[in-house]
């Protein structure tokens, strides 16, 4: 690993100041992506700004009808949170299936969405639920946040502080996990609020995306059978040694049907 200077600020403003003051400085959340990337020398920051010393960046709470999750909240804590289990069980279930238990003890929701790995799980939930991403300087709608592979609307040095989830009437996430990495080969989050249905797909393309045809079909009838005659275009999907794009397109539809079934009969 390339040498770097290590900083551990105790406030968001101090972290933002450090990131602004130093060239080639990156924030460190749980480190489950950044540290392996640095070990492979795919990243070589000169300054690491560790966000784990900032009080108040982690935890789960309700603000009116909105579930608020602090950016530094670790996956294992979201998965086991009684509040999340009661208010948004689909999100707790998703968090409990990211990586493995040791990864879930370190990885954070803010780190996951800021990294925007094309196969990460959280972006699907954030986009399908229409969450708001709160940063040190503004609030960004999920629809505007995820741009492309490892690219978000975050400006250089901008830090995610929390994610605000509106509560749906029904929701579920289903993924077909790569058995080695547990990343999604295809993961589909469906969320129904009133008559509106939002569906986000991860793992299948260069970044998480909303599946318009699936949303339209489910808005008319929120049943797995509503998707029987729908397919998605494989041409824009990823292909790698694990799955070609046609297989991913097929998996998306299977995961979508399973997610709808799960949303209809949770538990």
């Amino acid at each position: 690993m390339k040498p770097f200077a290590y900083h551990k600020p105790d406030s968001v403003s101090a972290a933002v100041a450090l990131l602004a003051a130093h060239a080639n400085a990156v924030p460190l959340a749980g480190g489950m992506t950044l540290v392996p990337t640095m070990k492979q020398r795919l990243a070589g920051p000169d300054h690491i700004v560790d966000l784990s010393g900032i009080a108040g960046l982690s935890g789960v709470s309700m603000d009116g009808g909105t579930l608020v999750i602090g950016a530094s909240t670790r996956h294992a804590d979201v998965a086991s949170s009684e509040l999340v289990l009661a208010k948004l069980p689909a999100l707790a279930r998703l968090a409990g299936r990211i990586g493995d238990q040791q990864v879930r003890h370190r990885g954070t929701i803010g780190g996951s969405i800021a990294n925007n790995d094309p196969a990460a799980d959280y972006p699907a939930a954030v986009l399908a639920l229409g969450a708001d991403i709160v940063t040190d300087r503004r609030s960004i709608r999920a629809d505007d946040f995820f741009i492309d592979m490892f690219e978000t609307a975050l400006e250089p040095g901008e830090i995610v502080t929390s994610v605000r989830f509106p509560l749906p009437d029904a929701a579920a996430y289903c993924k077909f996990a790569n058995p080695a990495s547990r990343y999604a080969l295809a993961g589909v989050f469906v969320a129904k609020t009133g008559d509106a249905v939002r569906v986000a797909v991860t793992g299948a393309a260069s970044a998480v995306f909303r599946a318009g045809d699936i949303e339209t079909a489910l808005s008319e009838s929120f049943e797995p059978s509503a998707l029987e005659r729908i397919s998605i275009d494989a041409s824009g999907l990823m292909a790698d040694i694990h799955a070609d794009s046609e297989y991913r397109a097929q998996l998306v539809m299977v995961m979508a049907r399973r997610a709808v079934a799960m949303a209809l009969s949770p538990g």
Partner: protein
């Protein structure tokens, strides 16, 4: 930079480079080689230790991040000459290891599970050990060992 933490109940201060990993500090700076490094890519779980009571992969943790933490490695399960920890004894009794390379990580991960789930079902164990790879046993005897170790720990408490 200097970092301080508690390692197996002993207050410890070491001089580290910020780019050092916890696994390097434990194995190379402190010469405690019970914690193994298999893949060094956070896949295999041989390097699992407890940080503040939770199992983590020490090959993917920067040393400065454990400042002030309470760390336990496999060496902290039983004294140098004391009897094996019930979970270690269960692995021995049930052939939960062959080459033994993955065992330190398996033990530390299993003990984290048992600490909040004293009577885990087989499915709980298999799910919890997803991040621990063993290339010898086929996992059957590891699962058997964890069940037996958990039972022994319940009896002892």
């Amino acid at each position: 930079m200097k970092i301080s933490f508690v390692l197996n109940d002993r207050p410890t201060t070491v001089e580290v480079e910020p780019s050092m990993l916890l696994s390097e500090v434990i194995r190379e700076t402190l010469s405690m080689t019970g914690t193994h490094v298999g893949c060094d890519t956070s896949q295999c779980g041989a390097c699992v230790v407890h940080v503040n009571g939770k199992s983590v992969k020490s090959c993917t943790l920067l040393a400065p991040a454990v400042e002030g933490a309470d760390i336990r490695t496999v060496e902290g399960l039983s004294g140098d000459t004391g009897p094996l920890h019930p979970m270690q004894q269960a692995f021995r009794d049930n052939h939960g290891l062959q080459c033994g390379f993955c065992t330190p990580g398996m033990l530390m991960a299993a003990l984290d599970l048992v600490s909040h789930n004293p009577d885990p079902a087989e499915s709980d164990i298999r799910e919890w050990l997803e991040g621990n790879i063993c290339r010898c046993t086929g996992y059957q005897n590891i699962v058997k060992s964890v069940i037996a170790g958990a039972a022994a720990m319940r009896q002892a408490s």
